[in-house]
């Protein structure tokens, strides 16, 4: 054979064998080795079609992982919590979104859908168990929530029929003629005698506004009822920074509005599908008889058998309090200027 013929054979051999092996080698070996990361593919189906697959994953502490979510049927939204601050937003059918992260301590986290995607949307959740490779069976036990523990110790039944058998929708004991205005309350605030305990935000969390209204009526006998209602509305809407309220509003719109309604009318598009009617937070007469800590407990623990989901495994306590503060703004017509 001539030298040029040999060279040609070598070139052909390189193309026929070398090219595929380079491509396949890169795909199956080099790329994975370079990424040096576990990639976990999670398919998202509406709950009626199975929800997340898989719906439970295990990763080791300090092990970098990439979670890759693919929407299979309709648009979903994927967020991770509590306290991870990950919200991947909408994922349309056929699209994929991924997040790489490393957990630094053992514990349990949740990936969940935050875009209404079917009647059972709120059951669309999956768990991430972060284990210590040295001790794979030892997961930190869930800590009891101190607020809920305190309510139980106080003898408050979170699931008690609200207000001695009165259900939402019945005629309220408290009559509020027009939506309370916290803005007006702010201007009246100086002219009203406030009992000292009422100024304490922690005290207010465990007392309903209706109770404070009663106290104010006793200390301000000449003041019109409407004025006192506005002052109470002011007291219940001043504890939170506007940024926190804005974040809570976004959380509410994504996770709660489909049932409770965007403006709190209890009339979201899924309101007709729940075992009990979702509460209308915009009903001031109703909400003013509720305690913040009970609302908090209900959000974290859910309402047994009512189809009110539990959000304790999705949100941090701080996020939950912010949601409660946001609920208080729903029946109020005008918020005061931020201080």
């Amino acid at each position: 054979m001539e030298r040029r013929e040999v060279a040609a054979w070598v070139a052909v051999g390189l193309i026929v064998i070398g090219l595929p092996s380079a491509v396949l080698g890169y795909q199956h070996w080099l790329r994975l080795a370079a990424a040096e990361q576990r990639v976990i593919d999670i398919q998202a189906y509406a709950p009626e079609r199975g929800g997340f697959a898989p719906d439970a994953i295990r990763v080791a502490v300090n092990e970098p992982v990439t979670l890759r979510f693919a929407a299979m049927d309709v648009t979903h939204g994927v967020a991770l919590g509590p306290g991870l601050g990950v919200d991947l937003g909408h994922i349309d059918p056929g699209k994929v979104k991924e997040i790489s992260l490393t957990f630094d301590r053992p514990g349990t986290y949740t990936y969940y859908c935050n875009t209404w995607c079917g009647p059972d949307h709120w059951r669309m959740r999956g768990t991430i168990q972060v284990i210590d490779p040295a001790n794979p069976d030892l997961l930190p036990a869930a800590q009891p929530d101190p607020v809920i523990a305190a309510l139980i110790a106080e003898g408050v039944d979170i699931d008690a029929q609200h207000d001695a058998g009165r259900k939402h929708g019945d005629a309220p004991a408290l009559i509020i003629e027009r939506p309370p205005s916290a803005q007006r309350g702010a201007t009246l605030f100086g002219s009203v005698t406030i009992p000292p305990e009422v100024s304490d935000p922690a005290w207010r969390r465990s007392h309903p506004p209706a109770h404070v209204l009663e106290l104010l009526r006793q200390t301000n006998r000449q003041a019109p009822q409407a004025d006192l209602i506005d002052v109470v509305a002011y007291l219940w809407t001043t504890d939170t920074a506007p940024e926190t309220l804005a974040a809570a509003e976004s959380l509410y719109n994504k996770n709660c509005a489909a049932c409770h309604g965007q403006t709190g009318g209890g009339d979201g598009p899924a309101a007709g599908t729940t075992a009990e009617k979702p509460v209308a937070f915009a009903d001031a007469a109703y909400l003013f008889e509720r305690r913040s800590d009970v609302l908090y407990a209900k959000i974290r623990r859910g309402g047994m058998g009512t189809d009110m989901p539990n959000f304790g495994t999705l949100f941090t306590p701080e996020e939950t309090w912010a949601l409660v503060e946001y609920l208080w703004t729903l029946p109020v017509s005008a918020l005061p200027e931020p201080r």
Binding site: D92, P93, G94, T115, W116, C256, A258, G261, P269
Partner: protein, 168 residues
């Protein structure tokens, strides 16, 4: 043959007064539901796999405010001709405002794949020609009728004249 106009023919005949009134009415009468450029608020709900209402009528020049909701899964709204696009999530109301400045029939379709029949999720926006257009049409019709009456009347007048002159 020119005759000085008689005092009688100086006075407009009742029939022309009637035409004048009709023309005036066509020009200024408030038409039901189509008074000038109005703000049209339309609640549009998206479900698998249709929009409700499926057909929307507005007048040209109207300010259209669509309150868009979704009741089951995420949908979208894309309006042909106007190039408006929005995505809507159950529970979160979206508002789309625009001026209907192009007349005609435009399709709006779902812009987010929402299931097997998604491609058939289509509605229709009909932008009617606006009131000035219809008024102009009205005036033209009245004028045409006037013309006919005029021809008929002048024919009648001439023949009576001819009868009087005994030339008929």
């Amino acid at each position: 043959m020119t005759r000085p106009p008689s005092p009688l023919s100086m006075r407009p005949r009742p029939i022309w007064v009637l035409f004048g009134l009709v023309t005036f009415a066509v020009l200024v009468a408030p038409l039901p539901g189509a008074a000038g450029a109005a703000t049209r608020e339309i609640a549009l709900d998206a479900t698998q796999f249709e929009f409700a209402p499926g057909r929307v009528h507005v007048n040209r020049g109207d300010r259209v405010v669509i309150t868009l909701t979704a009741s089951d899964v995420v949908h979208g709204f894309y309006l042909d001709g106007y190039g408006l696009e929005r995505r809507v999530e159950p529970g979160i109301t979206e508002q789309i405002a625009f001026t209907a400045d192009k007349p005609g029939k435009f399709r709006f379709r779902c812009a987010v794949s929402c299931g097997p029949l998604h491609p058939f999720m289509i509605g229709e926006l009909i932008v009617e020609r606006n009131t000035p257009y219809w008024r102009a049409v009205g005036v033209v019709l009245v004028a045409a009728a006037g013309m006919l009456v005029h021809l008929w009347q002048s024919g009648k007048t001439r023949s009576s004249q001819e009868v009087i002159n005994g030339t008929g």
